[in-house]
Symmetry: C2
Subunit: 247 residues, 2 copies
């Protein structure tokens, strides 16, 4: 048995998200498995480092799959890039030890959230940014973001309220950069709950709009109640940037 790690980028605009579904062919996992099944000659399961929602993009998602045959990584990459749709691109294929699992072994994830923050929308950014026409107060967003950094129970920032496992996560950093009309929020943490980045973004946007004060973040975290946090920001602005594994 062999184990292969793949690093993949995708434009999520056309897809129903990462996870394979019975009723649609338009998932990233589904597309990857279909192409690999053709290559290998039998069904294969592709394990992602985590699911991304419909419309969410990836710059560097990581997945792995096991198979009986020994494959040449460069040949797998070339084959997949030839047969995958043009909005999914394989960046790297590597043979890894059998014990490697893309989700269980990840020690850090990085996400970027792009906001188009100017009074006029831009046709070229419509699928790759969240459009917020009112001027955001970045200073205030920064203050709020700092209160979210650290180890906290992020249950208030999780869409799955029935989550039985721990909702404690460590958020290493939130960086907020303003690049002309675009605001980019970068999140680094040891793991993220379902919709956690989008709910944090929605809440930070409400701070930037003056609808909330930064200090509210403390109370939201304390409450462990999804209703306390802001809206789930739209998926178009979100990019899974990088998944980090131990050296």
């Amino acid at each position: 048995m062999y184990n292969y790690k793949i690093t993949v980028q995708y434009d999520g605009a056309r897809y129903k998200g990462w996870q394979k579904q019975q009723n649609t062919l338009w998932t990233i996992q589904g597309k990857l498995e279909a192409v690999l099944a053709e290559l290998i000659g039998n069904e294969v399961e592709v394990h992602g480092s985590g699911r991304t929602d419909a419309g969410v993009h990836a710059i560097g998602q990581v997945a792995n799959f096991k198979c009986e045959q020994m494959l040449e990584p460069e040949a797998v990459k070339a084959y997949m890039n030839h047969y995958l749709p043009e909005d999914i691109g394989i960046l790297l294929v590597e043979e890894v030890p059998l014990r490697f699992h893309s989700r269980l072994n990840a020690i850090e994830k990085q996400y970027e959230y792009h906001i188009w923050n100017v009074a006029k929308p831009d046709v070229f950014r419509r699928k790759y940014t969240a459009y917020v026409p009112e001027k955001l107060d970045i200073q205030k967003m920064q203050e709020a973001a700092e209160l979210l950094v650290g180890e906290h129970d992020f249950r208030s920032f999780c869409s799955n309220q029935k989550m039985k496992k721990s909702t404690v996560r460590q958020l290493y950093e939130i960086q907020i950069q303003s690049k002309q009309e675009e605001i980019i929020l970068t999140f680094r943490g040891n793991g993220f709950l379902y919709n956690m980045v989008r709910i944090m973004c929605g809440t930070l946007i409400e701070v930037g709009l003056g609808k909330r004060i930064p200090e509210e973040m403390r109370a939201i975290l304390m409450a462990c109640d999804r209703k306390m946090a802001g809206r789930t920001a739209q998926p178009e602005g979100l990019f899974l940037k990088k998944v980090v594994y131990p050296k």
Copy 2:
């Protein structure tokens, strides 16, 4: 009678180009005319500053239309942006003198051509750049570009070889910038022939690949023969950036 000037941006990926066609609804002119006809209550002709090909984008295309009614420019803009597809965006609507014509009065046009020049394609750039995996020699491209600047007969760079009107144009500037993996060529001139920017780009790319030497530009211009120039570069990388009118 009133005359209105509109500045419009569009992502050309889904469209068969600017010009209205009998057999498809997917043209920019067709979409604009359809929405304006609804607003005004009768058919209206939208005159563009020039046609763009299928797949070509515009950051600041200019057009104008005449109608009997006096319209409120801001209301026209809001109405159009509401009913147009999301890949066409109206940036500005202005009432202008009746004699204004977007094509005939233009004194300068600016185009940008984006090349993704790195060994791996990028799923997010696929519709907005020409993909050239081999490293381009920008210095050589710059030398060749300088020989194209000025007033010349650009017949060799025109796809319409039956063109009866003058093929002399003045090219004010070609700028070549390298931004990480992307090379951006900017063209400023008093007018451009059919496919002229794309043929210049295709020829300059061949220079960058070492398939031609910069000095060949002189002979190509002199020949007044399309076959002497390079390939027509792909449309995805091309953006109509700006149309300039007298103050």
